[in-house]
Amino acid sequence: MLILTCPYCGVDAEETELAPGGEAHLKRFGPGASDEEFRDYLFARENPKGVHFERWRHAHGCGKWFHAARCTMTLEVFGTYPAQTTKPPKAIREAITAKRPGWTWREFE
């Protein structure tokens, strides 16, 4: 069972109270983009074994979207942070580096 702390209401919400929103930090490609960019935006996902960034919604609580950094292999949660950002905050990246030195995920490290 995954337990994530909602950064908006501070509740330790368990998985059944949340709605998954897929991969985080997608860069949007729309009109004017190449076919390859648009294809990758729609379909290409990291699907890693290890460090991963996801979107979640506190559906049965405050209703807000947030981001979570976790390990897909051990279900360890490195931290959660508000969705109004295009990259993981420094504190989260440092927390991951402490546990998984040398990790990379898309353009982040």
Partner: protein, 188 residues
Amino acid sequence: MSEPISALPGARHDGLARIEEAGLQGMITLRGDLATKPVKAAVAAATGGKTPGLRGVAAGKTGTALWMSPDELLLLCPYDEVAQRLEKVTAALGDAHALAVDVSDARAMFSVSGPAAREVLAKLCPVDLSPQAFAPGVVRRSRMAQVPAAIWMPDAQGFRVICFRSVARYAFDLLGAAAQPGSAVGVY
């Protein structure tokens, strides 16, 4: 004008805990930036009290304000005063970017009381309901089995549960089943 009627008038169940439909309750949803003056003034106009903080319950002189999300409050007042309070709230908000709506008839409210009330709710919600974690002054939105619900304690004796009116019967039956005599777990 038709006669207002609550979701399950007079419904009551006695088991491990006493579950009662709480009858007509005035509720106003207020959305906006909770840190701004117009919103605080609107809360004061409706409840005669302060704006609650994170997950807080603020009881005022004439009503109660419940924290629903970072930009949403639920204001409780007597049912027959809703229209009048809503007018005051709208006036206090002025031209601020905020919204106040009467949702009294869209919700159902239950009271769960008795020594095992904590346990009855703990069976249904994925929430830490231990006395250390959940006490009067805290409101928690969560799910009760399959439906969303908001729970708080108006006093140390019992709980209040708000759910959507369309699932009132489901919620009442759920609470009744959780309060079935002989099904005590004895955690709290």
